[in-house]
């Protein structure tokens, strides 16, 4: 499908503005959520003690795999073969990350707790 430049601009403002129907791809709402979350992240991370920076990296690595949500959408459906395969592989990859990330964080934190 061909979209002209004009429609690109239209669509952009349509998404950002209060365009009658709720736009599917978010628009201003998602941008608001994103920016506020960046600020939360900023203050949270400055509070982390430097000694725990390694667990911080491994736990953020684990939670960034929350894109498994998108992978589940793609894998659980029955209609699109190739999307389904992509989804399956993506679930396997993110599951490695989630389980691995939380396990290694747990291991590290146990070391810190033991030495209290």
């Amino acid at each position: 499908m061909k979209c002209g430049f004009q429609s690109l601009i239209d669509s952009f403002f349509w998404n950002l503005g209060a365009g009658g129907q709720a736009s599917v791809s978010g628009g201003m709402h998602t941008v608001t959520v994103f920016i506020l979350a960046c600020f939360i992240g900023y203050y949270l991370v400055w509070n982390v003690t430097p000694a725990l920076h390694a667990p911080l990296i491994s736990v953020t690595n684990a939670i960034s795999s929350v894109i498994i949500v998108g992978a589940i959408f793609a894998a659980a459906q029955h209609f699109y073969g190739h999307a389904r395969i992509f989804g399956f592989v993506a679930i396997v990859l993110t599951a490695i990350n989630i389980f691995g990330g939380f396990t290694i964080t747990h291991r590290m934190l146990n070391m810190f707790r033991r030495n209290k």
Binding site: A37, L44, V59, S65, A90, L93, M111
Partner: protein
């Protein structure tokens, strides 16, 4: 509605997971919150699919989870940076795959209209895939470097500029035409860009690279979140992205370099004073017995661990030595430079692994004044982070980097594999001053020999 509530719960759990890390006592609880949040998110995602193929999903989760747990249990703490880099690459690849499914089956994510996919969704999809691809191959390169399997090549900055420009053009092209070819090409160029971005970055800058890739994996998650209009992914991605960005900033500050210079002028110019190499300078080398004698007669010892401790796995021997010293009534403290090791907090984890109590471990600002009052600085596997040239010699490449003032200690015991220079390629004045004793050889063996000599 139910799913949205569950997503909200998951997002709050992730926030608790990070806030738990502000203290070691609450960190473990934070990790459990994270696990709970992730489970909630997966359940919510499955509920949204409305009677999706449960077993298909479960098989994928179990097989991936099994591999993940196995890796995480098997990996040694020394190899932590490689493992983290490897894991980052998986997030990147998953982001690419999900964008692909979104591109080829947009109906799945409800982003298509009668006239094709929404333009904004195309932008988000393209960005998600592009950042994912950069994270994927960049992390693979970082993994190979940390594993010592790849040494690195220098890449002309113009090539990186070209790739960045090409990515922007392809992104625009994809938005305007919705052509799958443009999408594939965009992903391909982003892959190349990821590789060329990380290839030239040197070993000492690895802490920055690891945090930077951490940040990218977060932005990729956000990108996918925008594509499929899922607030949880956007929030989590933003948390992870800003976390990685702050860590990169802290690491850069620890080296007095800008992020820009780490990425685009990776190898610090080796403008070493040649005269220092022409004539071999004299230094005092000692035997473990001498070191044992010095340590026994000290009142306070500050240990400065570096990457060398990690490579020779000397942390356990070091802990044993510390215990012996404490039994003799000698004060022992550990001084950690922000960029010691190959990832942020690497040294802290290794010391914790060996069982060093964390109230004996101090950051640069907390301990730097203590060197003037301590009898022995025990430098084990560190080099550039104690090099006084960073303060005195404006012509040296690491000038301006904050260092640990080990030179102020009465006696410096320097455990080092050889007289070679550190990663920055700078000779260290500290080797040649009169109150330094060099103990050349493997850090672990030397420490063990010192312990033997003390008993």
């Amino acid at each position: 509605m139910i799913a949205d509530t569950l997503y909200l719960i998951a997002a709050v759990c992730f926030i608790f997971a990070l806030s738990g890390l502000s203290r070691a006592e609450s960190a473990q609880r934070g990790n459990l919150c994270g696990i709970f949040g992730m489970t909630t998110a997966c359940v919510a995602a499955y509920l949204t699919t409305r009677s999706g193929d449960f077993w298909f999903v479960l098989i994928a989760v179990i097989s991936g989870g099994g591999i993940g747990v196995f890796i995480a249990k098997a990996v040694s703490m020394t190899a932590l940076p490689q493992m983290v880099a490897g894991f980052h690459s998986l997030v990147g690849l998953a982001a690419v795959l999900i964008s692909f499914s979104a591109c080829f089956a947009p109906e799945l994510f409800r982003i298509s209209t009668s006239s094709g996919i929404k333009v904004l969704s195309l932008l988000e999809m393209g960005l998600g895939s592009s950042i994912g691809a950069i994270t994927f191959l960049g992390s693979i390169i970082a993994f190979l470097k940390l594993q010592g399997m790849y040494k690195g090549h220098s890449i002309p900055t113009s090539l990186n500029t070209f790739f960045a420009f090409a990515i922007c053009c392809l992104l625009l092209c994809f938005m305007l035409t919705e052509s799958e070819e443009a999408f594939l090409l965009l992903t391909l160029v982003s892959l190349l860009f990821g590789a060329t971005l990380i290839m030239p970055i040197g070993g000492a800058d690895m802490p920055v690279v690891v945090s930077m890739l951490n940040s990218y994996s977060g932005w990729a998650t956000s990108g996918i979140g925008f594509t499929i209009a899922n607030d949880l992914l956007i929030i989590t991605g933003a948390l992870v992205g800003s976390s990685g960005a702050i860590l990169s900033y802290i690491m850069c500050k620890g080296m007095n370099r800008s992020l820009w210079s780490v990425i685009f002028t990776p190898e610090p110019a080796k403008s070493v004073n040649k005269s220092t190499f022409d004539e071999p300078r004299t230094f005092k080398s000692g035997a473990p017995e001498d070191a044992a004698f010095i340590l026994k007669n000290a009142n306070s010892v500050v240990v400065v661990p570096g990457y060398g401790m990690a490579t020779s796995k000397a942390q356990h021997a070091l802990k044993e030595l510390g215990d012996i010293l404490k039994k003799e009534g000698i004060g022992v403290k550990y001084a950690i430079h922000p960029v010691a090791g190959r990832m942020p907090g690497h040294m802290n984890v290794l010391l914790a692994e060996a069982g060093v109590p964390y109230d004996e471990v101090f950051e640069l600002d907390e301990i730097n004044r203590d060197f003037a009052f301590c009898d022995v600085a025990y430098v084990i596997g560190a080099n550039d982070v104690v090099n006084p040239a960073a303060k005195n010699d404006p012509s040296c490449p690491i000038y301006g980097m904050p260092i640990l003032d080990a030179e102020k200690a009465k006696i410096i015991l320097f455990l080092k594999r050889s007289m070679g220079t550190g990663y920055a390629g700078v000779d260290n004045e500290l080797f040649y001053i009169s109150n330094t004793m060099m103990l050349l050889g493997d850090a672990k063996k030397t420490t063990e020999n010192i312990i033997k000599a003390m008993q």
